[in-house]
């Protein structure tokens, strides 16, 4: 590895003898989503300005632009995003402009949304509410359409509230 010592730190390096190391440059990583692999467990909160794909376990809240909970994933905590797609196990509140619950999902907790889609076969336990006002943004997404009133209207987080149990919407 010392043969590489000619280059400046942080510079993309691609000497003929080795494969290109493009991932190290900001340009190529900015667009790529963060991936929490199946064998990864995070105890704590995640905050992202971009996309997060979760296939592992997360115990904590997730803020992001687009959050996908994969089929084998297990999330205990709230998801606050612009787009949220749940295919795996989720125990906690979902608050997003656009929420998709796939048929493989097992979601326990309230869903606060502007656009909701639930596939037939999805397990869903919790209240489903439509948010008229702007969904409170993840701090990283400064779209600021109607910024002022949003946070105050947010209901208290009640991830274990099962009062709406039995809701089995078809769409």
């Amino acid at each position: 590895m010392f043969s590489k010592s000619e280059r400046a730190p942080g510079e993309a390096m691609s000497s003929p003898s080795e494969p290109p190391r493009t991932p190290s440059t900001a340009a190529s990583t900015a667009a790529s989503p963060s991936v929490i692999g199946a064998d990864l467990k995070i105890t704590g909160n995640l905050e992202s300005a971009g996309d997060i794909q979760i296939d592992g376990q997360v115990e904590g809240d997730i803020h992001g632009r687009s959050v996908t909970v994969g089929e084998g994933a297990d999330v205990k905590g709230a998801i606050i995003a612009d787009n949220a797609r749940v295919c795996g196990t989720l125990s906690g509140q979902v608050r997003a402009s656009s929420v998709t619950i796939a048929k493989t999902a097992k979601a326990t907790g309230d869903i606060i949304h502007k656009t909701l889609s639930i596939e037939a076969g999805a397990f869903l336990e919790g209240q489903v509410k439509r948010l008229e006002a702007e969904v409170p943004k993840s701090a990283a997404q400064p779209t600021a359409a109607k910024p002022a009133a949003a946070p105050a209207k947010a209901p208290p987080s009640a991830t274990s509230s099962n009062s709406g149990a039995g809701a089995k919407p078809t769409s």
Partner: protein, 133 residues
């Protein structure tokens, strides 16, 4: 989006292999540049950090990339640092690139440091297998 994820993972896996000569599974976990984790990260496989982690990181192979930052311990079998770590490192194989900054003790059984890296702390050697708990 998933096609992109697969592609970037493959590229990164190749990248990791190129870096460490280690066998890397395709299911590398990636903490992206725009992701900040406040809490501990535990992984049986490989984890690549472009963003920031405020907490301990455990994995088989842990790579802290150029823009990556860890505020906490890094514990693994193979640890490769290009970014900054403020905390102790414990691994059998530790390699530190010149762009790296490490403040904390590095417990290792094989350590590689490129000239130019900033290191602060003790670097005790331990025989293999290194106890990482």
């Amino acid at each position: 989006m998933f096609a992109k994820a697969d592609k970037s993972q493959a590229v990164m896996a190749e990248h990791v292999t190129a870096l460490r000569g280690a066998v890397v599974a395709a299911d590398t976990s990636v903490i992206g540049t725009d992701l900040a984790v406040v809490g501990d990260v535990e992984c049986e496989g490989d984890v690549q950090i472009f963003g920031s982690v405020e907490g301990d990181v455990r994995g088989r192979t842990v790579i802290v990339e150029y823009e990556g930052h860890v505020e906490g311990q890094v514990i693994g079998q193979h640890v490769h640092i290009c970014g900054s770590v403020n905390g102790a490192i414990q691994a059998a194989d530790v390699s530190i690139e010149r762009s790296a900054s490490v403040v904390g003790n590095i417990t290792h059984s094989a350590l590689t440091v490129e000239p130019g890296a900033y290191l602060e702390g003790r670097r005790p050697w331990r025989p293999r297998p290194l106890k990482t708990e």
